[in-house]
């Protein structure tokens, strides 16, 4: 057995060396040919979670980026100075595994020679891909990362189109106190994960700063199957406002168990629950009355540059593409991320990485998604973010005033 193995190994060695040489040659040829190819198209690389736990979010990004590329190329491509260049989007599935996202980002930069990267969903994976982009000095646009802890790492090539999530807490406390002056206590239950945790801590801080008492504040770990214990404790605390942060499956479960255990309050907020249609679809009537905040809503009405001049234009295209689905903030923010690249290419008129990076840093544009202007850390500047509420199983906008289409109502009993 051992002998046969040895013989096989010996036989395969020359072949392997041959293969290696061929691979080396191919690699050399590849590098020689790359600059010539790179001139023909603008390449944007995207490591995406198309399978695994984040697949839903990955597919959203995939959908709008393809819509954007199609629309750009149909119009002849992106302007680089005075000539037009077509855009090529290169996507790889990183299967929702951070480690693989980093490997694929390297592959996109080294093998596919992309000029830009789009970061995947979520603060955690954005941080990983942003780190790779930084190492190779490739500008990376993140459209679904809102935690400041991603952008304060002095990554000079990472830019995010979402505003800091701090903008979601202070305004909300102020508005709810104004509308329901009897609101004195709040109970906070947050998922122990980058974004939901920062929201839970943010709201508790904002509430205390504005004179509310935090009657209960706990985190629940990733992988929690049951909220009964936490909700029973919250029920005993009798708060005026219950605030739960987490991802859709956590929040559906929490809302259902609140109903089951008779836990309620005049105001119930779930972040980011109602920003996703899956939340309202999963809960049906139980979703009614739940408030939330979001980075963007399709009821907003912004006008700007790019392939979709107005929010309505984007909404119309999106509905046509998806046979009637409503876009959420992930769709909006990611579709707008392309415009950042378009603008930088137009202004620099070159494919020089350093020039492009500087041009992106000084972005100051209006889009259908809203203004995009990056602060010193590379995050889109704070703005008034929509506060929303589910009423009759549809999403209503409570604030800001210029797009408001409903008043805050108390949770149905």
């Amino acid at each position: 057995m051992f002998e046969r193995d040895l013989r096989r190994r010996a036989a395969s060695t020359p072949r392997r060396t041959g293969l290696l040489a061929a691979a080396l040659l191919a690699a050399l040829a590849g590098t020689a040919a790359a600059p010539a190819l790179a001139q023909e198209t603008i390449k944007i690389g995207a490591p995406l979670a198309l399978t695994g736990g984040l697949a839903d979010e990955g597919h959203k990004q995939d959908l709008v980026w393809k819509m954007w590329v199609e629309k750009v190329n149909a119009a002849g491509g992106l302007a680089v100075g005075d000539k037009k260049m077509k855009v090529e989007l290169i996507e790889y599935d990183y299967q929702s595994e951070g480690q693989r996202a980093s490997q694929l980002a390297e592959k996109l930069i080294n093998d596919d020679k992309v000029q830009f990267l789009f970061a995947p969903f979520g603060s955690g994976h954005t941080k990983i891909v942003g780190g790779v982009g930084e190492r190779y000095q490739v500008p990376t646009i993140a459209c679904v990362a809102s935690s400041e802890s991603v952008f304060d790492q002095s990554l000079k090539h990472l830019f995010g189109t979402l505003s800091p999530n701090g903008g979601m807490t202070t305004a909300m406390v102020k508005m709810f106190k104004e509308k329901f002056p009897d609101t004195k206590t709040i109970a906070v239950l947050g998922r122990d994960d980058v974004f939901p945790k920062s929201m839970a801590e943010g709201i508790a801080k904002a509430a205390e700063a504005q004179g509310l008492t935090v009657a209960y504040k706990e985190l629940y770990p990733v992988g929690t199957m049951d909220h009964a214990a936490a909700l029973s404790s919250i029920k005993a605390a009798k708060p005026d406002w219950i605030y739960v942060s987490g991802y859709t499956q956590d929040l559906i479960l929490a809302r259902k168990q609140m109903q089951d255990l008779g836990v309620t309050a005049p105001i119930v907020t779930m972040v980011t629950g109602p920003s996703y249609k899956e939340f309202t679809e999963g809960l049906g009537k139980l979703a009614d009355g739940i408030t939330s905040s979001s980075w963007w809503h399709h009821a907003t009405n912004y006008t700007g540059q790019g392939v979709w001049p107005t929010t309505a234009d984007f909404y119309k295209d999106f509905q046509a593409k998806t046979k009637g689905a409503d876009p959420d903030y992930v769709h909006g923010s990611c579709a707008a991320a392309g415009e950042v690249i378009a603008e930088a290419l137009k202004r620099t008129g070159s494919l020089d990485k350093a020039k492009l990076r500087d041009a992106i840093a000084s972005t100051d544009i209006q889009t259908f998604y809203g203004p995009i202007k990056f602060g010193p850390t590379g995050m889109n500047l704070p703005r008034e973010l929509p506060i929303i509420q589910v009423q009759d199983e549809t999403i209503k906008v409570l604030a800001p005033a210029d797009i408001k289409n409903a008043e805050l109502i108390a949770m149905p009993k």
Partner: protein, 287 residues
């Protein structure tokens, strides 16, 4: 005091669901010595079948119970017969790797077809109050079903020829073969029953928890803990393990905050491993 009765009730109801989740896993591990990494995905598959039947054709989950059970049994039986039986007597790491690979296929196929969107069977049966204790009706029904199914499995294992054959194979494979038991077939039937129990757990879960492929790993992890706490390979073991875990998590969640609830479950598991490696009601030789 009122809060404690509520927390105990929460713990018992959750514990019965845990038992239902783990019993099939425990059986397969105990009899086949196969750590079935597919178990979590089987539960979710059962949940999806229930959801689609309910959402598409308005079929009540109770009606789906036998249908899903039969489908999952067939799937489990075929998998064991055609694939796993080829390596079933290999060291446990081989079968673990095999079921791990199969799980990746099943998991990703489900994510591809159904997407990871959390879905829910909206029965919303309301709740009943017993003094200060609120009992959600769907959890009560789930608890009852979990107990009935677990006891039914116990009865089958003790009372039927197949059940006795399974127990015989578990005790001594060679002796069972000498007695004329076709062990390969018993293996396939056992794996089929394991999948069936996962499937019906999925039906019960579909109206209690959101169904999404994201939680397959969580379910598998719970099954592990329940088996270690209760004891491997025995139906009463899964039941005791589930109930104890449910109670411990519920009380820990109240005393130390929900952040520590899962930790408490694992601490319990470690303590049992150190003091009673066979589990609370486990059989000797199956630690």
């Amino acid at each position: 005091m009122a809060i404690y009765s509520q927390i105990l009730a929460n713990g018992l109801m959750l514990g019965a669901l845990y038992a239902c989740l783990a019993v099939g896993f425990s059986l397969v591990w105990g009899v086949l010595n196969v750590i079935n990494m597919l178990h979590g995905s089987f539960i979710i598959l059962g949940g999806y079948l229930t959801w689609f039947a309910w959402h598409g054709w308005g079929i009540h989950p109770i009606v789906m119970l036998p249908v899903v059970g039969a489908l999952l049994f067939a799937l489990g039986f075929a998998l064991q017969k055609l694939v796993i039986n080829r390596v079933v007597s290999a060291p446990v790491l081989t079968t673990l790797t095999l079921t791990f690979g199969l799980d990746m296929i099943l998991y990703n196929v489900m994510t591809y077809w159904f997407t990871a969107t959390p879905r829910r069977v909206q029965l919303d049966l309301g709740a009943v109050s017993l003094g200060p204790v609120t009992l959600p009706v769907d959890r009560l029904v789930g608890t009852a079903l979990a107990l009935v199914l677990t006891l039914a499995l116990y009865a089958v294992m003790r009372g039927s020829n197949i059940g006795r054959a399974i127990v015989a194979v578990r005790m001594d494979r060679s002796a069972a073969e000498l007695m004329g038991i076709r062990t390969e077939r018993i293996y396939a039937i056992t794996f089929g029953i394991g999948a069936l129990m996962a499937g019906v757990a999925g039906v019960v879960f579909a109206s209690v928890f959101p169904i999404t492929t994201n939680v397959t790993g969580t379910y598998l992890g719970k099954a592990f803990v329940v088996c270690v706490v209760g004891g491997l390979g025995s139906v009463p073991g899964a039941l005791v393990g589930g109930l104890v875990l449910g109670l411990v998590e519920s009380l820990a969640g109240h005393w130390f905050g929900p952040q520590q609830a899962i930790t408490a479950g694992f601490v319990l598991m470690l303590a049992i491993l150190l003091t009673r490696p066979t589990g609370l009601v486990g059989v000797r030789g199956y630690e």
